[in-house]
């Protein structure tokens, strides 16, 4: 298949990318860069490797990238390995957001690894939204790993969404270190079914004064799916503030586990956590059923709300 055909099929699997001149985009299939378009202030160096790519992405100091950068990683074949190694640098004072689509529509035995080092410079703002789109077979092993450093007054937000298609197996491992006046928000929304297995390890280390972090995990499980969520928040500086929030809805024989770990090493720091695991709220269910929705339809809407 030619690069152009691959690109067409890959983009079709995610519903397309904007093609405006002022929107940066990068499309990668397996280990091939199929297309890219950059805008001023954004620099990308890519090295194709045997089973993936290694890329350095830099948002130049002070650059304000007005529109989100669109990235697509994916594999169309049923089997294979894709390793994505990223070095992302949002330099001081820059502002940028990335919308990444990861598409594995036909996967039967696919491994997708992402290993990222992310630096959010002083006063920079960087957000990364990652939406996974999987097929119906559950044959994907997703291993996203990131080490993030948020420097003074930097802001970092990451959101991981996997609510279309089967999860397969996923093991998220993100660790963020946040310096003075930095802000971190990490959100995961995942819907598992059949024998999907979900593991989330998210850690925020608040090492500077007034550093703030919120870790949120929203998980819906059906059938025999299993989930384990380990959220760790450690506050080691004065006026550091953090909150961990984990909500999981469990249906059928699914099993959910949440382990919030909060640690405070400074008398002026403050962190909180809440975790709620249970079946669908009966009052919500009754209300929707009293409008004529079947139980399954009502549960779908309630889960849609949880994961929205």
């Amino acid at each position: 298949m030619s690069k152009a055909e691959l690109l067409e099929k890959l983009l079709a699997s995610i519903g397309g990318h904007p093609t405006d001149d002022d929107v940066a985009r990068i499309e990668v299939h397996h280990n091939q860069v199929l297309g890219s378009h950059l805008v001023p202030g954004l620099e990308v160096e890519v090295e194709e490797q045997a089973e993936g790519i290694r890329a350095q992405i830099t948002f130049r100091e002070g650059a304000k990238i007005a529109k989100p950068v669109h990235v697509c990683f994916g594999m169309l074949p049923e089997t294979g390995v894709q390793n994505i190694v990223l070095d992302i640098r949002a330099q001081a004072g820059s502002q940028a957001s990335v919308i990444a689509h990861c598409s594995f529509p036909n996967a039967v035995d696919v491994i997708h690894r992402m290993d990222a080092e992310i630096t959010v410079g002083a006063g920079a703002t960087y957000s990364y939204f990652e939406r996974h789109m999987h097929g119906p077979h559950g044959g994907v092993l997703v291993l996203p790993k990131a080490k993030v450093r948020v420097e003074e007054e930097g802001r970092f937000r990451t959101e991981f969404e996997l609510i279309k298609g089967r999860v397969g197996r996923i093991d998220i491992d993100y660790e963020t270190t946040c310096l003075a006046h930095g802000v971190v928000e990490m959100v995961a929304r995942i819907s598992g079914s059949k024998n999907d297995v979900i593991k989330i390890h998210e850690t925020a280390l608040l090492e500077g004064e007034y550093a703030r972090a919120v870790l949120k995990s929203y998980i819906a499980l059906r059938d025999d799916a299993r989930a384990e969520v380990f959220n760790t928040l450690r506050a080691s500086a004065a006026y550091a503030r953090g909150h961990v929030d984990c909500k999981e809805i469990v249906q059928g024989r699914a099993v959910a586990k949440a382990v919030p770990i909060v640690e405070v090493n400074h008398p002026l720091a403050h962190v909180t956590h809440e975790a709620a695991i249970g079946s669908v709220d009966s009052k919500q269910l009754q209300t929707l059923q009293s409008r004529g929705l079947t139980e399954d339809e009502a549960v779908d809407i309630i889960i849609q709300g949880l994961l929205s």
Partner: protein, 244 residues
């Protein structure tokens, strides 16, 4: 013909008889009140009519438009046109007002959703995109629930304590919505212990101790409730026979 008929309806919960041989006929296209003191069994009766889980093992029969619905689930009854507005509406974290109203709407067009919110006095431009969560007041959530019922276009609506937890302005909007439901052909049963709500009805039933002990013109029932029930200290004591 009655739209709803209860035939010798009884229900036990936790070994206690909560509804005790109720027989009544609800005439169609009217605003009825079911009034009684706290603990009389009004909300239990509403939950039984709508068919909530836990309220289905009844003695007797419930007929809707002439056919028994006793064996039907809550959603099956709703698809026949029976619904309920709760005393304390549910919150739906993450859902917008638009998603909630649309979920049960017969006509799911934006124009219909707008009209339903208009009919309860809420501006669609301000409310449709809002989350149906704790940022809304109790009165706003009651009106949004009623908007979802208007959009559903039901035949029979049970309104459990419509005046609970809301201000006078919101209550008037709820009464207006009830009149709109009636104008659209629906029948409304207001479950209440409030004389103000009773007086916004066209016909009333009086409940005590799991029984319907009187029925008829609103003024008559209001007088009886005010003079006999409000001062009564026999609440939850089976003295219904004495009252009759």
């Amino acid at each position: 013909m009655s739209i709803l008929e209860l035939r010798n309806l009884s229900l036990e919960l936790g070994g206690r008889r909560i509804l005790n041989g109720i027989t009544l006929d609800i005439w169609p296209n009217r605003i009825h009140a079911l009034i009684g003191p706290n603990g009389a069994g009004k909300s239990t009766l509403a939950s039984t009519i709508i068919g909530l889980a836990g309220f289905r093992r009844i003695e007797g029969d419930i007929l809707f438009e002439g056919a028994s619905i006793t064996g039907l689930s809550v959603d099956e009854r709703a698809r026949l046109g029976i619904t309920m507005a709760w005393q304390e509406p549910a919150r739906f974290e993450g859902l917008t007002v638009r998603q909630f109203i649309r979920a049960g709407a017969k006509d799911k067009s934006n124009a219909r959703l707008d009209a339903a919110l208009d009919q309860v006095g809420l501006d669609p431009a301000k409310y449709l995109a809002r989350a149906l969560d704790k940022t809304l007041s109790g009165g706003e959530r009651k009106r949004i629930e009623l908007a979802s019922i208007l959009a559903m276009e039901p035949k029979l609506v049970l309104m459990d304590e419509p005046d609970s937890g809301i201000d006078v302005e919101a209550l008037e909007k709820i009464f207006e919505a009830n009149r709109t439901l009636k104008a659209n052909g629906a029948t409304v049963i207001q479950i209440t212990h409030s004389l103000a709500v009773l007086r916004q009805s066209e016909h009333a039933f009086l409940m005590c101790c799991g029984k319907v002990i009187d029925k008829g013109e609103v003024g008559k029932i209001a007088g009886y409730f005010e003079n006999k029930c409000l001062p009564c200290d026999h609440m939850n004591v089976p003295v219904a026979e004495e009252l009759m």
